[in-house]
């Protein structure tokens, strides 16, 4: 391998890694706030890419049906539980949040799909369409067992991923898609070509990570999220509602996953089930960060991307095997560095 190839692979890897960074940050965010290890984030990213592709091909994205079904189900469940607990006065509010709000992007896409929509608007529509999915799933799937153990929540989360993959095939069909490039620009730096798309991905990752940081540091909602992550009971005593912070976390996480889906769609062909591998590689990054640290997660995800890029060059058949195998040294390292701390917090 020459140094040119190595440089090229590194740049390619950083671009891939930046995609994982976005998803992994969402995973860590949701985990710290709700204790749910949200496996389906990769699917959210894949569904965004598929929605964008459908809009590009002047078709109605399958996401429309998915969101509509979820919104109706969530509304029914929420209304039933409100009526059962004698809180009938809150029903209109529930209708607004669980039915009307998610249906707005659905209606917009319904009207706009099939026409000529400029690219920026397509991206906004695809993102708006994807945002309600995770909060609705949270209401339907995780809220009834919010006090369960992390392992129970994880088991449910894995089952949910498989349900979503199945639904993905129903709503999107088996064809792979690739959207039109966001930019065709290519720069040659020191003899190495750098695609504009790669730059865009990295810039987007930096911007959105920065936004997340600013949100935590400078807004009340962000601080309440941080508080819930540190101590749920304590946050509750301060008047923060964990359900609400959970919804905000899911929205933010979905936004990050959606952006990553949009960025990856022109580079990789996306299928209804591409999300699993995407999500799992982000998980490797999140595990490097111990599912708690945002900066280490970001660095870890970048490393996963670079490793994948080199692995693909050496042996494309085994690139997945190589990427998942680095979990072993990572976990070994974590189990020795964090052994004492785990003991303190056990039980």
């Amino acid at each position: 391998m020459t140094s040119d190839i190595a440089a090229f692979l590194t740049i390619d890897g950083i671009a891939t890694g930046a995609i994982y960074v976005l998803i992994a940050l969402g995973i860590v965010l949701i985990f710290t706030v709700t204790r749910v290890i949200f496996v389906p984030f990769g699917d959210i990213a894949a569904f965004t890419a598929l929605s964008l592709a459908a809009l590009e091909m002047k078709q109605l994205p399958g996401t429309v049906g998915l969101v509509a079904v979820l919104a109706v189900l969530a509304t029914l469940v929420e209304t039933a539980s409100l009526l059962r607990t004698g809180k009938a006065r809150q029903v209109p509010r529930a209708l607004l949040f669980y039915l009307v709000l998610p249906m707005i992007p659905v209606a917009l896409v319904w009207i706009a799909a099939g026409g000529d929509i400029p690219l920026p608007l397509r991206i906004i529509l695809a993102l708006a369409l994807i945002l309600p999915i995770a909060p609705l799933l949270d209401r339907l799937v995780f809220r009834p067992i919010a006090d369960g153990t992390v392992l129970l929540l994880l088991t449910v989360s894995v089952a949910l991923h498989f349900a979503l993959v199945g639904l993905g095939l129903l709503f999107f069909g088996p064809e792979g898609v690739r959207t039109e490039a966001l930019t065709d620009a290519v720069w040659i730096v020191g003899g190495i070509p750098i695609a504009g798309q790669s730059i865009l991905i990295v810039v987007a990752a930096i911007v959105f990570s920065g936004l997340l940081f600013a949100f935590f540091g400078f807004t009340l909602a962000g601080k309440s999220l941080h508080a819930t992550a540190v101590n749920r009971t304590g946050a509750r005593l301060m008047g923060i509602r964990p359900e609400r912070t959970g919804t905000i976390a899911y929205l933010l996480g979905s936004l990050l996953a959606g952006v990553s889906g949009i960025l990856i769609a022109p580079v990789n062909t996306m299928f209804y089930d591409s999300g699993f591998l995407l999500g799992l590689k982000a998980f490797v990054g999140a595990i490097i960060g111990g599912l708690v640290s945002f900066p280490v997660t970001a660095i870890g995800s970048l490393c996963v991307g670079i490793l994948e890029s080199f692995a693909a060059f050496q042996s494309s058949a085994f690139k997945e095997v190589i990427v998942f195998s680095i979990l072993i040294p990572v976990l070994l390292w974590r189990s020795y560095t964090s052994a004492h701390r785990e003991e303190d917090i056990d039980e």
């Binding site: 392992l151 199945g166 129903l170 085994f318 095997v321 785990e342 003991e343």
Partner: protein, 589 residues
């Protein structure tokens, strides 16, 4: 329900199973073959998840490694299937040991997440290795032969499958009733308590993990030689969650849950495969996954315990006999009264910038009761955790019975003869009183995994059970040894912890607020018990807030305030000390 009825039910079930191929249709026998194989995997998950509290999505990968090992050895290399089995057991066992060693020290969800990752990694490996037929797999796997008879038909291999399953169930049942089985059951709910009893939690977890993998190995071996063909598809992660679903739907806390769950899911899946195409011809395969995933989610939301515990709850309580009298377990020699037993020298413990224990020294002599008192937040419980090895000291030195235990692991300190109770009671609420106390005897007994599974531990077990009952009676809880510990009021749970500590035959008993939540009469009885223990030569270190209780009981007192030692001395002089009065009552104006 008497033991006789249970035995009769088991006999009838085994008889029905043994004669099944005679009266059921061949298709049903095939179905039963699959159920038996899946139940083996699910049994491993029951031990791992239901008993040990670890969740694995990767059991199908272990099954796959086994199936590929034996297929490679037999179809490609021409060895006997029995050699294939040996290879499969060795390979899978080694793989599980390595993966377990890496993940089992971490919190549970790291293990579970990594099971998904290695499940995928193994799947891709199978699919991409030329020598293993890539994604097409290996064909022409020979059947298993017993003697000269090849097990070709599904009604022939049936006996092998269910024979192995029944033996595995029996061994697992024996194991759970043994010393190591109790340690396995106590893993759920954190390791602070387990380690304080001298149990090597990591080792128990690791062996449980390997056992689960070996059960999946047996399943994979049978699967390969029954279907005579292996490919990566039956061993992917979807299958892994299906096995988890079987165990949990059946009831992951029960061995039989594995069989019931495997049967239910397999039959259900079969029915769904028959009927879904009628509803949705084009997308039946995907709808199947959606339907099963949604069913599993609903199940986890509303009926987490599973079928077998539900049915077992409807049956009448089994009548159990009290443990019979047996020779007592060997006791430790107590050190001579008045010799120095434990000394803390300049111990300091910091949590970040907070100094919880600051430069505290004191000594404990054999045969005395020492009270450690102080206002809330004085650092008493932290001091206890330092002495028992639950927390490492930041600086200082602790010696016990002449040995330096400053950096010794908690479980080794427990083995050396320090038994403790906890300020926040740590019991296993779903285990009976006697099982909780039996956990205390862990350091005094020696049976391992094998002797437990093969019932070679019965003599020792009888002695341990007798000992546990003696200790329960001694603290006044001997009436209902099979009551669940979680049903006791809080005060009695503290007393149960003392019985558990006594069952360890300690040299030093460390009690953290034992009288909290007790009524006056119970406190008097507890004081009486502790005095009797002192007479027997036991040394006791006690933290307590009830001053009347402490002053009438202890020989000496150490007072702590803000992490430092304030005063030490006999009760009367401590009571008269102005600094102590100021700490407790505020300054005298």
């Amino acid at each position: 329900m008497s033991p006789r009825i249970t035995q009769l039910a088991i006999a009838v079930a085994v008889l029905l199973l043994a004669t099944a191929p005679l009266y059921v249709a061949p298709f049903t026998v095939t179905l039963l073959d699959y159920i038996g194989i899946y139940a083996l995997v699910a049994l491993g998950i029951v031990l791992l998840t239901g008993i040990g509290g670890m969740v694995s999505f990767g059991q199908s990968a272990f099954m796959g490694v086994a199936a590929y090992s034996t297929a490679w050895a037999t179809a490609l290399m021409g060895f006997s299937p029995w050699l294939g089995l040996l290879l499969a057991l060795v390979l899978t066992g080694a793989l599980a040991a390595v993966l377990g060693a890496v993940t089992l020290r971490l919190n549970g969800h790291f293990l579970s997440l990594s099971t998904i990752a290695w499940g995928l990694a193994i799947y891709f490996t199978f699919g991409n290795v030329e020598g293993l037929g890539n994604f097409n797999g290996i064909t022409n796997v020979p059947p298993i032969t017993i003697g000269a008879t090849p097990l070709l038909g599904s009604d022939q291999i049936y006996f092998l499958i269910w024979g192995i399953l029944l033996v595995a169930l029996l061994l697992a049942h024996n194991l759970l009733g043994s010393r190591i089985g109790r340690a396995m059951r106590s893993l759920r709910g954190g390791k602070a308590m387990v380690e304080s009893l001298g149990v090597d939690a990591f080792r128990v977890k690791l062996v449980t993990f390997v056992i689960a993998a070996l059960l999946a190995t047996l399943a994979g071996w049978l699967y390969a030689h029954m279907s005579r063909f292996v490919s990566p598809a039956p061993f992917d992660v979807t299958k892994g969650i299906e096995f988890l679903m079987m165990a949990m739907v059946g009831g992951s806390g029960h061995l039989l849950g594995a069989v019931v769950g495997a049967a239910l899911i397999t039959v259900l899946k079969n029915a769904v495969q028959d009927y879904l195409p009628l509803i949705a011809p084009a997308s039946a395969g995907q709808l199947e996954i959606v339907a099963f995933s949604l069913l599993f989610i609903l199940f986890l939301q509303y009926a987490r315990d599973g079928i077998v515990p539900f049915v077992a709850g409807l049956l009448p309580e089994p009548k159990r006999r009290l443990p019979e009298t047996a020779e007592p377990l060997a006791r430790r020699a107590q050190p001579a009264r008045g010799t120095p037993l434990l000394s803390a020298e300049a111990c300091t413990r910091r949590f970040g910038g907070l100094i919880a224990v600051n430069d505290v020294s004191f000594e404990l002599k054999s045969g005395e009761i020492l009270g450690l008192i102080g206002p809330n937040g004085a650092g008493k419980s932290t001091m206890f955790n330092l002495l028992t090895g639950a927390l490492p000291v930041s600086e200082g030195r602790i010696t016990f019975a002449g040995a330096d235990i400053t950096r010794t692991a908690q479980r080794r300190i427990a083995r050396a003869g320090i038994a403790r109770t906890f300020q926040h009671v740590k019991l296993r609420p779903k285990m009976s009183l006697i099982d909780n106390v039996l956990l205390g005897t862990h350091t005094r007994t020696h049976s391992g995994f094998l002797s437990g599974a093969l019932r070679l531990d019965r003599a020792e077990e009888r002695r341990a059970r007798h000992e546990a009952l003696v200790q329960l009676r001694r603290v006044g809880l001997g009436d209902q040894p099979y009551e669940l510990a979680g049903n006791l009021p809080l005060g009695n749970q503290r007393i149960l912890e003392i019985a558990r500590a006594l069952a360890a035959d300690p040299i030093l008993l460390v009690l953290d607020e034992p009288a909290a939540g007790l009524r006056r009469q119970e406190k008097l009885a507890l004081a009486e018990l502790l005095r009797a223990l002192r007479t027997e030569g036991l040394t006791i270190l006690i933290v307590e807030h009830d001053m009347e209780f402490v002053m009438n009981l202890v020989d000496r007192i150490v007072v702590m305030e803000f992490g430092s030692k304030l005063v030490q001395g006999d009760p009367a002089s401590v009571r008269a000390d102005a600094r102590v009065q100021e700490a407790y009552l505020g300054g005298v104006a």
